[in-house]
């Protein structure tokens, strides 16, 4: 009896350590969460994550308003924000973005074997679904690409659990603010053929490391974790 109690205690302690460790990475906040970039210090709570070189992320003010600029020259780094929401209850995310300059990509189909060399986008918006084991973490990545048709869903050349969704395509809207609104619950189901679990982070990245070129994009009015028509 005593032996069983000890084993149970040991197991409970073990599970508690794992659970506390896991949940300490992710913070729940009020929903919907808004990121209007209206203050110079708007990026203070975002974490910079460097992959290859540093992209310049900066809040640019215009009178009482502001927006986020990203300038990349042969670099890849992103900004990352931990949050928590259930996409089954509040599936919507939205943002505004503007591409000033696209990375220079070679011609060819995306299915080329060397397409990791073309895995640069002027603007990316990530929704990350973390799991206890990091290899099971899944990511939806909304991109604005110059050539790939809008609505295309691709698997990242880096990992099968990263699905790239082309949310905006072409040069037609270059230099203009474009509003995007996505239902991450539906997108996840389309991309992974299964139901999503909790969202644990969002991120933004403009990168040109693979194409060794230059890109610039602006982001604004990010809103996450709300119901449709809220």
């Amino acid at each position: 009896m005593v032996k069983n109690t000890k084993i149970k205690l040991l197991l409970v302690t073990f599970i508690a350590i794992i659970t506390i460790g896991y949940s300490s990475f992710v913070f729940a906040g009020r929903l919907p969460q808004l990121f209007p970039f209206r203050k110079k210090d708007a990026l203070d709570k975002w974490e910079e994550k460097i992959f290859k070189g540093r992209v310049l992320y900066k809040v640019r003010m215009r009178r009482t308003d502001g927006y986020l600029t990203a300038y990349s020259k042969k670099t890849a780094s992103g900004i990352f924000y931990k949050l928590k929401f259930d996409p089954k209850k509040t599936p919507m995310v939205s943002w505004k973005w503007k591409v000033v300059r696209f990375p220079r990509k070679g011609k060819g189909e995306v299915a080329d074997s060397d397409w990791i060399e073309k895995d640069d986008y002027a603007a990316r918006f990530y929704v990350i679904f973390p799991k206890l084991a990091f290899t099971l973490t899944k990511t939806l990545e909304y991109v604005w690409d110059k050539e790939i048709p809008e609505g295309t869903i691709m698997t990242s050349p880096y990992f099968e659990n990263i699905k790239i969704i082309v949310a905006e395509s072409g040069k037609r809207n270059r230099g203009k603010w474009v509003f995007e609104e996505r239902n991450v619950y539906e997108d996840f189901k389309k991309a992974f053929n299964r139901e999503p679990e909790e969202v644990g982070a969002i991120a933004i990245m403009t990168d040109t490391d693979n194409t060794a070129s230059t890109a610039e994009a602006h982001y604004d009015e990010i809103k996450v974790g709300y119901k449709h028509e809220e």
């Binding site: 974490e47 973390p130 990242s156």
Partner: protein, 140 residues
């Protein structure tokens, strides 16, 4: 010769219990610590790296190599722990089993001489005292 080891495994329930106890008390804490370290190191690193492509590029190949090493090393480690546990159980319960056998032989008159245990056996002093006691009774 009863005092020579004849079996790799002693079939007595006491030794089985001791063997399992020593084995599990080594494997369970080691397993928990290893799992915690594995989980903490890789997950902390994954969160630290953040960008999914960077995680995939930098961490997944490492995790796959580590998994392969674990897959190879785990059976070897378990076998080593089992061997050590078996050795310990022999060392602890082997003399007791031999002493019990010697006493059985004396009681059933199959043997009349003193109890013989190995010089290094932990129960050798006890066996010597029992021999002295038997001598004392037989002389009185």
């Amino acid at each position: 010769m009863r005092n020579k080891r004849k079996k790799k495994f002693i079939g007595s329930p006491a030794q089985k219990k001791l063997l399992i106890l020593v084995f599990t008390s080594a494997v369970i804490p080691a397993g928990i610590v290893a799992l915690c370290l594995y989980y903490l190191i890789f997950n902390l690193l994954a969160w630290q790296i953040g960008i999914p492509e960077a995680v995939a590029y930098n961490l997944i190949p490492v995790a796959r190599k580590v998994n392969l090493i674990i897959l190879i090393a785990l059976p070897i480690t378990l076998l080593a722990i089992w061997t050590i546990a078996l050795g310990l159980s022999h060392r602890m319960l082997g003399p007791l089993s031999r002493l019990e056998g010697e006493l059985d032989d004396i009681i059933s008159d199959e043997k009349s001489g003193p109890i013989q245990l190995r010089e290094k056996d932990v129960l050798k002093p006890l066996a010597d005292k029992i021999n002295m006691l038997i001598n004392k009774f037989s002389s009185s």
